[in-house]
Structures are given as structure tokens and as C-alpha cells.
Amino acid sequence: MFRGILEGMRQTLRSFFEKPVTIQYPEQKRPVRARFKGRHVLKRYENGLEKCIGCALCAAACPADAIFVEAAENTDERRFSPGERYASTYEINMLRCIYCGFCEDACPTEAIVLGDNYELSFMDRAASIYTKDMLLEPVPAVDKLTPQSTPPGVFTRSVPEMKDPED
């Protein structure tokens, strides 16, 4: 009887001197792993053009119907993305999204990527619908903002040449 109590107390005493494993969130934020599926980000190319071409394959793939895409046509004076079309409206409802990554798999240009942000809390439901400007990756320099005006005949392919199409 006593041995049981003493054994239990010995365990407890030992754990007084162990290093605590608690992560003191929010002061200390543990970085997430590389493959973590958090809030979506719409990526850009290095020249600043958006990768998203408004094909809506992600909206078709989504198991929860969380994405809404409307496409419009690019002109060379106001060019948002290479190729003919771009996404004029792109909305994702964060409260419907199940963070499965299927949109990431379905995208032909690798435009939509699930990033690292997991701090998604809203006071009201309408605030959870993220529009395109909230999702787009920020630009490193002002001259890379879209819409850009580009020389004609340069950006005619929507989907870039990929080195390894099987990848």
C-alpha cells in the first residue's frame, strides 16, 4: 500500500525538475512544419504577375465548395497574369474550407498554396470570406504591382513551361 503511494509521489517529485514542455503561446510561437496546411496564399511570379489564371479548377475540386472564382480577360495594357485570362473575383470562405489541400493539388499553375497562418478567428461570419486582395502574396517592390502594362506578344502562355511535366 505504502509502496504504491511512495512510487506515485516519486514520479511527481521527479517531474518537478523536468523541463516544462508548455509552449507559451502567444508570447512564444512554435514554427509550424514545412508541409503544414494553413491559410491559403495566391502566389506570384518573380516579375510580379499573378500565377492564378482564373480557370476555377480549384473551385471544382473543393470538397466543401468553399471557393468562388470569376474570370476576366487580360489585355496587354492591364495585365494581371500571363496568358489570356485572370481571376477578377476570387473568394474563399475560410469557415467552409477544410484545409485538405485538394485545391493545391488541382491547380495547374501552382498558384494557390496552403501557407502557414493558422490564426483565423472572426467575430462575425461575413468577415471570414477572404477576397483576392487579402489572399494575394504581397509584392516585394512597387514596380511589380498588378495590373502591369507589358509589351505585346511576350506573355502568351497561361501555364508556364515546366521542366518535368510529371512532377
Partner: protein
């Protein structure tokens, strides 16, 4: 499910929201003083209509939907589904994909057993063990996040293979995590077998003989703790279990203590299997092509979830959406054992007994339709929704 001694006994209702269990379910125990004389279970509080929803989505979207049948055993549901669909499409996933699927399934088994250990200990008032085992479980969650990207609902399966690959850095991290966990599991086994108060609560509680277990149709570690040698990974190996076999672990006493011991020993075996997989991981590609329209046919896919035998029936009529998917989950079988075994025990033992079968309420709520040939109706989506709203008004 009812087994009640009638006339005038006092009925104690527990649930649907109660401190003993984390998910809603309604239990009614007919008691006489402190001794339980009958038990009834009422489920259905988490019914989601997944089987109907699966008919409206195409084959790939269904993987993500069916994963969410259960939070704890999500990967094994997705694996059962993809194995079934691949069988229908006459496609075999490459060996590397099967090995990775098995690896994630075994990691999931470890996480599920550690979770269960913590919750069952919490039912028994042993909160220290809860804190310890969930701290160790964080190691597994970390590994899973590193490999797959999510802590719960890791969407790794795709039709024809897996989405993720392992490299040396990850393999080293997995090995390190496993070493730590193995040491901790030995410690838990020691605690379970020697701690006197714990033994007092679990020994000879809920004893189920082998014959009872076979008659009542228990599955999984609950049955194996009564000596029934039933494990699908050994009897009907699927995915990577042909190359990496698993040991069958049973115990003979059949009481609650034996269930604890069986689950911890299963964890130890999981570590061995994972190490073997990491040592001999086959090379090759990760997925094969599966056609968009799956050919016609019906198939049954059986896998061993952490709680027991999981059966999927998948029917296809050649389109790009499934015609019918029926899921039979292991927890549904184990409820029958509780209602029989509970008789004769004190009321205070009930929470631990319920926790002993490792109930997963989300897995349970399937809709069973009673077939009345004269009154058959076909209901559309809108009708069902309206019915649901009005029924509970």
C-alpha cells in the same frame, strides 16, 4: 439496443452531455441501489449524412469527406476507401505508396491508443496519466505534422497512392521519436501493472469470457483482450502488411485490465513494425493513374482500425460519382458488449467500462433503413432537409 429488467427499477440517464464521455450519447442504466441491472444505449447525436453526401461528390473529393467520419481514425477510413476503389478500378498502388500508407496507419494506431489511455485514465480519475500520455502523444502528432501536414485529418491518400514522400531527415526524426515513445510505453505498462489503486479499479471489472465475446460480436482490442484471436492485419493482410507482418496480441482475462495491457502491447508492436518499414522502405513512384470513371462493380474493403474491424461497401455504376458507400465501423459492434457486461457492476464503474471499449461516437451514426415494401419513397435532397428541419422543430 436494450437489455432491461422491467417493472419499476430506477433508471439513471446519463447524457447526452455528461462529464464521463467526450462525445454525446445517451445511456440509461436501470439500477437497484448501486448495482446495475440493465442498460440501454441511444446514439445518433452526431449523424452527418456522410453516406448520402458521398453520393454527391466525385471519387477524389470523397476521400476528404470520408476522412472526416472519425477524428481519431481518419487515415484508416481514407485507406479503406482508396483500397476499395482501386480494387474496383483494377489498379494496384505501387509498393512505396503501400508502405507509406502502412507507416501512417501504424502511427495513427499509436496516437489513438495513447489518446485512449489518457481518456480512460481521466474517467478513472487518474488525471496525471492523462497529462503524461497526452504529452507523449504530442510527439506523435509532431511526427505526423512533419510527414503529412496536419495534426488531425492528414489527407495523405489519393486514388492510386499517396501524396507525400519521406526523406532521410524525416526518417531520422521518426526514429528518434519512436525511441522516446518506446521508453514511455514501457513505463506505462509498469504503471498499469503495478499501481494498486489502478488495479483495484480495473481488475475484474467488465469481465467478458471468450465465448461471450464471440457471441456478442466484439471486435478489435476489446475482443483480443478476451482471447479471441481476431486481427485483420494478420488474417487478411492489406496494403503493406504482406511484407511487414504484425504480431497478434491477445490476453486471456478479458477484464478491463487486460484491455489496457493489450493496447499498450500493440503500441510496442507498432514501434517494431514502423522501424522495419523504415529499414526496408521500397523505392519507386508514389502513385499510379486511376481513371476518372471507375468501372462498374461492387466491392468490400476490410481494414483494421485502431478500434477493430472496419468494413466499407462501395458500389459503382460506371460514373464519376459513387452509387452507394456503406461504412460499418468497429465501435458499433462493441456497444452490444457493454449492454450485456454492465449488468452486475456498480454504477461508479460505468464510466470506465464505457471507456474500456474505446468508443468513438462519430463512427457510429449510420442510418439504417427498415425496408417496408409497401411504403417506399425516393427522397430528394431538399425533401430530406425540410424533413430534418421540421422533425426537430
Amino acid at each position: 439496443m436494450e437489455k432491461q429488467d422491467s417493472n419499476g427499477k430506477f433508471i439513471v440517464p446519463i447524457g447526452p452531455q455528461h462529464p464521463a464521455l467526450k462525445e454525446p450519447g445517451h445511456f440509461e442504466f436501470a439500477v437497484e441501489g448501486e448495482i446495475v441491472t440493465g442498460a440501454a444505449v441511444r446514439l445518433g447525436y452526431v449523424h452527418r449524412g456522410i453516406e448520402k453526401g458521398a453520393e454527391a461528390r466525385n471519387w477524389t473529393q470523397n476521400i476528404y469527406l470520408l476522412e472526416r467520419v472519425c477524428g481519431i481514425c481518419s487515415h484508416i477510413h481514407a485507406t479503406a476507401y482508396t483500397l476499395g476503389v482501386e480494387k474496383l478500378a483494377n489498379v494496384v498502388a505501387p509498393p512505396r505508396a503501400q508502405a507509406i500508407r502502412t507507416l501512417v496507419a501504424e502511427l495513427e494506431r499509436i496516437h489513438s491508443h495513447l489518446l485512449w489511455l489518457g481518456v480512460a485514465a481521466h474517467e478513472g480519475g487518474f488525471d496525471t496519466l492523462f497529462m503524461f500520455s497526452w504529452r507523449d502523444r504530442e510527439t506523435v502528432m509532431d511526427l505526423l505534422e512533419m510527414i503529412t501536414g496536419n495534426r488531425v485529418h492528414y489527407s495523405t491518400n489519393i486514388l492510386g497512392g499517396v501524396k507525400i514522400d519521406l526523406d532521410d531527415e524525416k526518417i531520422t526524426a521518426i526514429r528518434k521519436g519512436l525511441d522516446f515513445l518506446e521508453e514511455r510505453t514501457h513505463h506505462y505498462l509498469k504503471v498499469i501493472n503495478t499501481d494498486e489503486t489502478f488495479l483495484g479499479r480495473t481488475r475484474d471489472v467488465g469481465t467478458m469470457s471468450r465465448q461471450q465475446a464471440e457471441e456478442l460480436g466484439a471486435v478489435g482490442p476489446t475482443a483480443r483482450a478476451s482471447g479471441v484471436p481476431r486481427d485483420l492485419r494478420v488474417e487478411a493482410p492489406y496494403a503493406g502488411y504482406h511484407e511487414f507482418p504484425v504480431r497478434l496480441i491477445t490476453a486471456t482475462e478479458g477484464d478491463l485490465h487486460a484491455r489496457f495491457v493489450v493496447r499498450m502491447n500493440e503500441c510496442l508492436d507498432c514501434y517494431r513494425v514502423i522501424r522495419e518499414i523504415l529499414d526496408r522502405l521500397p523505392g519507386g513512384e508514389l502513385a499510379t493513374r486511376v481513371p476518372r470513371r471507375i468501372p462498374e462493380g461492387e466491392t468490400i474493403s476490410r481494414v483494421e482500425a485502431p478500434r477493430g474491424e472496419l468494413v466499407y461497401f462501395i458500389k459503382s455504376t460506371g460514373g464519376d460519382k459513387p452509387d452507394r458507400i456503406k461504412v460499418r465501423t468497429p465501435s458499433l459492434c462493441n456497444w452490444g458488449t457493454v449492454t450485456s457486461v454492465a449488468v452486475g457492476h456498480k454504477l461508479a464503474d460505468m464510466p470506465m467500462l464505457l471507456a474500456g471499449i474505446d468508443p468513438c461516437f462519430s463512427c457510429n451514426d449510420r442510418m439504417v433503413r427498415v425496408n417496408r415494401p409497401d411504403q417506399s419513397q425516393t427522397w430528394s435532397w431538399e425533401n430530406l432537409r425540410q424533413y430534418g428541419i421540421e422533425y426537430y422543430r
